[in-house]
């Protein structure tokens, strides 16, 4: 999700090609070509410029609707419904060939990863591992971070593990369903004993009302993430190391 303007010039984009299985866009205003995954212009008058990332989440509709009951959702076009991806499109895509692979990584090219980029580093977390662990404490560069699986078992968010106003870096634990008085409580931290929601905001305890800072993440296939983030590291569970 990108902010579609550069130096105050609004850009309107069109699908324009593909580069190593990641698509290219072309803006109407200058004719520049942009790489979708990086938001970087690779050809044209704006070559070298980058779009600004707009914070976004990949969530289940139910989770999003519960958090944003007054939000709006893109309407389907009746004529286009037969063209939309089928319900099992993500399963089918696992079998699609790739032209790039990184076999030395030990990861399948289409292994789904949660990729984070920030604090001078890139790091990828196998999505299947996150589904099992449900909560991962790790570092992005030198920054302590936290990845959390939502109550829906599909949505993922990442946060900086620094509680505003608290010097110590907190450890977070998952709260079991039904254990808390607050239905929104998903986590508890070791520094203040507060309970935290999937939105990264404390819903009880000393930090009640305080929110953790989000770290942007993206779900991507390993080959694509690795190709456009060549310096990435990969999170491995202790058993996989």
């Amino acid at each position: 999700m990108w902010r579609a303007e550069v130096d105050g010039l609004r850009l309107r984009f069109h699908l324009a090609g593909i580069n190593d299985q990641n698509f290219l866009m072309r803006d109407e205003e200058t004719g520049s070509y942009w790489q979708q995954i990086t938001g970087a212009a690779i050809s044209g008058p704006l070559a070298g410029r980058r779009l600004t990332l707009v914070a976004s989440d990949e969530l289940t509709f139910a989770t999003w609707k519960a958090e944003e009951p007054h939000g709006t959702v893109l309407r389907e076009l009746a004529a286009d419904i037969p063209l939309y991806s089928k319900k099992d499109w993500d399963v089918r895509m696992l079998k699609a060939p790739t032209v790039i692979a990184y076999p030395e990584s030990g990861l399948s090219p289409r292994e789904l990863m949660v990729g984070l980029h920030g604090f001078g580093a890139s790091r990828a977390f196998p999505y299947d591992g996150l589904l099992k662990e449900k909560i991962i404490e790790d570092h992005l560069g030198a920054e302590p971070i936290l990845l959390v699986l939502g109550q829906d078992g599909h949505s993922v968010r990442a946060f900086r593990r620094r509680i505003p106003g608290v010097a110590a870096i907190a450890d977070f634990y998952r709260v079991l369903a039904g254990q808390s008085a607050s239905a929104a409580a998903l986590l508890m931290d070791s520094a203040t004993g507060s309970e935290w929601s999937f939105q990264g905001c404390a819903v009880s305890g000393k930090s009640n009302g305080v929110c953790l800072e989000r770290v942007e993440s993206i779900k991507d296939y390993w080959f694509d993430w690795r190709h456009f983030n060549p310096a990435t590291t990969v999170y491995r569970t202790h058993s996989a190391r």
């Binding site: 999700m1 990108w2 902010r3 579609a4 303007e5 609004r10 850009l11 309107r12 984009f13 069109h14 699908l15 324009a16 090609g17 593909i18 580069n19 190593d20 299985q21 698509f23 290219l24 866009m25 004719g31 070509y33 979708q36 690779i42 050809s43 044209g44 779009l51 707009v54 914070a55 976004s56 989440d57 990949e58 969530l59 289940t60 509709f61 139910a62 999003w64 609707k65 944003e68 009951p69 007054h70 939000g71 709006t72 959702v73 893109l74 309407r75 389907e76 076009l77 286009d80 063209l83 939309y84 991806s85 089928k86 319900k87 499109w89 060939p97 032209v99 790039i100 829906d152 599909h154």
Partner: protein, 165 residues
Amino acid sequence: MKATAFGRRFLLYVLPCLLASFFFLVYPVYVIRPFRAQGVRELAVALAVARYRAPFMVALAAAVFAALIWYWRRERRWLRRIASAAAPLAVVAMALASRVNIYELMFHPLGPPAFMAAGQSKLAGDEMVIAIHVSTVARAYPIRNISYYHVVNDLVDGVPIVATY
């Protein structure tokens, strides 16, 4: 039919124009196609060809038309005149074809997006969406839908955004 001297000269002039037009049309399509790795340099060349070819193709079409006029002034046989007209028609056809965005033929673009209240949507709860919150506005873009369009241009509380998948 035996070729005349001016006929041979016409062909010698027109053939390179046809080949150049063909190159301008086909090279970007050849390089930038799915399920093929694109080298950095060849991609840069292909994109440059795509960006700058229009005036060259117009010039080639003009050159071939000029050659056709020159040839017709000398050639009286109608069958050869008709056959020779294929050359500029082919160059014009290639120039027009180069204006077609084949990717948007495969995945036609979404016009101005329309939205509905979350409570009115019949989307299943487990459908995945890309969600944003800009200022006071929250929007969701169902992945199964935008993965067809690949690109959705939108304006969210005055902020221009492009949703991509």
